[in-house]
């Protein structure tokens, strides 16, 4: 009897969360669909360029942006960076220029090597560490050439030009 209100409260909370999850499609954020990342239009450019780049057939965002050495570090990183992104976005703190942070870069580098290990074996070896990011040379591999629009036309039914 005295537990009923608590039960109701819990049920209500669950229903509310469920509704929230359903309406906002929040579980998608637990998945890997690249379109999800693009829910935040602040990353349109990265999405668009990935979409048109060579890697789309073989990668989703998380293939590069989350560590894949084991499932624990995968979800820790996912939770941490995900919460960071959501917080910054929701609080309107999105910086003018979104840039991969240093630890993000190390995660990415690990992933380049994960997939391309046999290709880069020769060059990664040696008594001195390989001290550069792959995309210092492969500048367009991930997100295309910066700043230069890869869609030179616009949808004239939506954006008439006259």
């Amino acid at each position: 009897m005295t537990r009923l209100p608590i039960f109701i409260a819990i049920a209500a909370t669950l229903i509310a969360l469920g509704m929230f999850a359903y309406v906002t499609d929040a579980p998608a954020y637990a998945g890997t669909d690249s379109a999800t990342c693009n829910n935040c239009h602040v990353m349109d450019a990265q999405y668009e360029n990935w979409y048109h780049g060579g890697h789309r057939n073989v990668t989703e965002c998380v293939d590069c942006h989350l560590p894949h050495d084991n499932i624990v570090s995968y979800y820790i990183a996912k939770g941490r960076t995900g919460m960071h992104d959501v917080y910054m976005f929701s609080m309107g703190k999105t910086p003018e220029l979104i840039r991969a942070k240093e630890d993000t870069k190390q995660i990415i580098q690990g992933n380049c090597v994960r997939c391309h290990q046999s290709t880069v074996e020769n060059i990664m070896l040696g008594p001195q560490p390989f001290d550069r990011y792959c995309w210092e040379c492969h500048r367009a591999a991930a997100h295309g050439q910066r700043g230069i629009s890869i869609v030179p036309y616009q949808d004239s039914s939506l954006y008439p030009t006259k």
Partner: protein, 426 residues
């Protein structure tokens, strides 16, 4: 993605108020486009200086008194300041001591000087025609001009398309067989600036605004153009050189195969980068030095913003010191030609060759100096121009000495020895 957007969220249509063609009052356009209008208004109050540019109205003459000597006999030796944001255009053109407002003076300033300063112009040009506009006197035109640069200088009302509004630009493009109506959007993002940021001169007594581009927009083609029509802006005092003055040839310099131009980058990419209001992007209309907002201006293309800003610095310093050496060479040459010209026995042909080289060298220097990026818009081209200019200036001095057979005219480093240095007229 674009399909998912509800149509009414789109920026251009529908518009809250209807803007009539060539509406001079930007605040009316601004009701439809509050972001563009509010950023545009910021051009009024910018006042930060960068190493070589920025928006503070410092005097170029005080900063580098060599220019007082180089412009002797011409209004630029009286008053020549760093330019500021677009909203200041009217205040600044009316305040400059370069204006000659003496009624009836043969050199009285024409309304042509308003050409690039007001959003009233497009309507006035339509009403009066280019000739009608330019043949009026400056004070005569003043009452009709109440708005500084504004939306109507760059946009077509309604469609917001970028357009050529200055009839002189239209003519200059035509002279090259070009029709801007065929240009792509990305091209217009550069060409729209050419309404104003270009070298120009005034034709005839009616002072018709003209761009000297019939042969092309490269420095040698422009010099050829002026030489062919025997044009001069003024006679240099004491040397008798028929001089040319260069003005803000940003467009010509940038489009001369600069590395960014060849890579497809437009003026607006750097000077009007996209900024965000919430999730929507728009072009910042707060046009100023990109060094004041390099994250936005350069960061879209360059990951390492510190690196590119460092490069600008490196390039500008190199251009600045080279430009000063050229100025020293010009001053040495001018001093020699003055001495030779004062000598009635001077060999006229040699002296004339000296003057021709002085004319050419100084215009080349001015083309770099009056350009407002201190070399960044096209570093290699600009440094080559300075190398050639110095070479011609030195040869001018040598010819002057030969013309009077007097090696004493070969003194160098004259400006350095000057004490005190010249100061701008108070």
């Amino acid at each position: 993605f674009m399909k998912n957007q509800p149509a009414q969220e789109r920026a251009i249509l529908p518009q809250i108020v209807e803007v009539k063609p060539m509406e001079p009052d930007s605040s009316i356009w601004g009701q439809n486009f509050p972001n563009q209008w509010s950023t545009f208004q910021q051009t009024k109050d910018n006042n930060i200086k960068t190493t070589y540019g920025g928006s503070e109205k410092f005097s170029h003459l005080a900063e580098d008194p060599r220019q007082i000597i180089l412009f002797a006999g011409y209004p630029f030796s009286k008053d020549y300041n760093e330019e500021r944001g677009h909203m200041n255009s009217l205040i600044d053109v009316r305040a400059t001591k370069r204006l000659n407002l003496t009624p009836g003076d043969p050199k009285e300033t024409h309304a042509t000087c308003y050409s690039c300063k007001s959003s009233d112009n497009p309507a006035l040009w339509q009403k009066l025609g280019l000739e009608g506009f330019d043949s009026m006197m400056f004070p005569e035109m003043t009452p009709d001009i109440t708005n500084p640069i504004g939306c109507a200088n760059c946009h077509e009302a309604g469609t917001m398309r970028l357009i050529v509004t200055n009839p002189s630009l239209e003519n200059a493009l035509k002279a090259q067989g070009k029709d801007w109506k065929t240009f792509t959007r990305q091209e217009m993002r550069t060409v729209v600036c050419a309404n104003c940021h270009v070298e120009y001169y005034f034709v005839g007594d009616k002072k018709i605004l003209t761009f000297p581009w019939a042969n092309g927009t490269r420095i040698d083609q422009i010099i050829d153009y002026y030489d062919n029509i025997n044009f001069k802006d003024w006679d240099y005092p004491g040397t008798g050189t028929p001089m040319l003055k260069a003005q803000h040839p940003e467009y010509e310099m940038y489009t001369a195969d600069s590395t960014h131009f060849k890579a497809g980058v437009a003026c607006a990419d750097c000077h009007m980068p996209y900024v965000r209001d919430g999730a929507a992007k728009f072009s910042s209309h707060d046009v100023h030095s990109p060094l004041l907002n390099p994250q936005q201006a350069c960061g879209q293309c360059h990951t390492d913003v510190d690196y590119v800003v460092g490069r600008v610095n490196e390039i500008q310093n190199q251009v600045f010191t080279t430009k000063q050496s050229t100025e020293d060479a010009l001053i040495d040459a001018i001093t020699a030609i003055q001495a030779a010209a004062a000598d009635p026995n001077a060999d006229a042909s040699l002296l004339d060759q000296a003057r021709q080289l002085h004319r050419k060298a100084q215009f080349m220097w001015d083309f770099v100096s009056a350009e407002n990026s201190m070399g960044f818009h096209n570093p290699e081209y600009i440094l080559k121009i300075l190398a050639d200019s110095t070479n011609y200036a030195r040869q001018a001095q040598m010819l002057a000495a030969q013309s009077v057979n007097d090696p004493a005219l070969l003194e160098t480093g004259i400006y350095d020895k000057m004490d005190p240095k010249p100061t701008p007229a108070p």
